[in-house]
């Protein structure tokens, strides 16, 4: 099923498997290094095979898929926005994904500025003068899309890798673009 040819995404939360059954001794957690090892080797190979733009496009799409499934399965989407954000902040902290902070929320126009500190993807990477959290861009957009039922875009404007010590994202309703 995983290797089935297809032109649509069919990933669901169930594809992650039953970890209680599958890893009774080793448990749920793995070190961040192994997460990054996976992400940055895939990125490296995708860039050599497909080029930077296509690789980033794929990473964003994957992030979006993950964000939407994460929201659907780990968050209560019936909450009001502020409660939802508080819940998201709590879950991301508990799961050691990052420290979410909302800087601005314009609910009328659906425009937001968020930061993620100690980000799983990039915190501590060497400064390379570029933003590199494309997976987070997709992940955040996916969460917003799943929560609101509308299309969103998340764009990273500051990144640890660009020397900013914090990852800052501008999240807008897609119609704005």
């Amino acid at each position: 099923m995983f290797n089935q040819e297809r032109d649509y995404n069919k990933f669901t939360w169930n594809d992650l498997g039953d970890l209680d059954q599958g890893r009774p001794n080793l448990g749920m957690k793995i070190p961040v290094l192994f997460y990054r090892l996976l992400q940055y080797t895939w990125r490296d190979v995708m860039i050599t095979e497909l080029g930077v733009d296509k690789a980033n496009e794929i990473i964003i799409k994957a992030g979006k898929l993950a964000g939407a499934q994460f929201c659907e399965n780990m968050l209560n989407r019936d909450l009001e926005f502020n409660e939802f954000v508080a819940q998201l902040q709590q879950v991301l902290k508990e799961e050691a994904v990052g420290i979410l902070r909302v800087e601005k929320a314009d609910l009328e126009n659906m425009r937001f500025i968020l930061t993620i500190a100690e980000d799983l993807d990039c915190s501590g990477l060497p400064t390379t003068n570029e933003v590199i959290c494309q997976y987070d861009e997709g992940f955040i957009a996916g969460i917003f899309e799943s929560y609101t039922g509308k299309l969103f875009s998340a764009k990273e404007i500051d990144c640890w890798a660009s020397g900013d010590r914090v990852c800052r994202f501008r999240v807008n309703l897609l119609e704005d673009y």
């Binding site: 502020n82 409660e83 508080a86 819940q87 902040q89 709590q90 902290k93 420290i99 902070r101 909302v102 800087e103 601005k104 929320a105 500025i113 930061t115 500190a117 100690e118 400064t127 003068n129 570029e130 500051d158 660009s162 020397g163 900013d164 010590r165 914090v166 800052r168």
Partner: protein, 202 residues
């Protein structure tokens, strides 16, 4: 060039941002490289200074800074945290007590305790208001003029027909209906004397 660089660095150490060194006129390649790097430091210092000054006055407007300015990055982080706190405080002011500050040391603890205290106080106040409103409702049920029979002390219910005997009820029945009070019957000493003189002597 070295003399000019020392002069510029001295200016910087005196708290002023010096003008950049003119690199185009330097012929020695190593000197030009050094001057370029010094200029970069001056630029970073200027940018950092321009950022911190409004920040120190509480101005949290959006800022843009060139990447790799490592001097500014801790301030950018601080700026981000302050903007987040501002947003959270706004939400708390609107009555949202779900907000929590994470990983900001003693401040997190103080802020989170404040939110919990505000939440508890508001809940307590709401409970008190609720109790008072209920008491007020009881008071209202008994306020105003009550028509009472001068002889048998029966009370006429609300606006019922005064000529209809069914409109009149015993005071116990009236109060039980209007309030949560319940009655238990006994006999006062004076009535005891009248009704049961033999028993009342002791």
């Amino acid at each position: 060039m070295i003399e000019e660089s020392i002069e510029k660095l001295a200016t910087l150490l005196q708290g002023k941002i010096p003008d950049k060194i003119e690199t185009e006129i330097i012929t020695n390649e190593e000197h030009r490289h050094l001057a370029t790097m010094l200029n970069q430091i001056f630029e970073f210092m200027q940018e950092t200074h321009e950022f911190i000054e409004p920040l120190s006055k509480g101005d949290l407007h959006e800022i843009s800074m060139q990447p790799k300015n490592f001097l500014s990055s801790p301030f950018k982080e601080l700026h981000s945290r302050l903007r987040h706190l501002t947003w959270q405080t706004e939400q708390v002011a609107q009555g949202d007590y779900n907000q929590r500050v994470d990983f900001m040391g003693d401040f997190s603890e103080a802020f989170n305790s404040m939110i919990t205290a505000l939440d508890n106080n508001e809940k307590q106040l709401k409970r008190k208001i609720d109790e008072l409103e209920k008491a007020l409702t009881h008071i209202k049920t008994l306020e105003g003029l009550l028509p009472i029979c001068a002889n048998c002390k029966k009370i006429r219910v609300d606006d019922d027909n005064p000529k209809d005997q069914k409109s009149w009820s015993q005071i116990e029945a009236f109060l039980t209906k209007k309030t949560n009070a319940q009655f238990t019957h006994t006999i006062c000493p004076e009535c005891m004397k009248k009704l049961y003189p033999d028993f009342s002597q002791g």
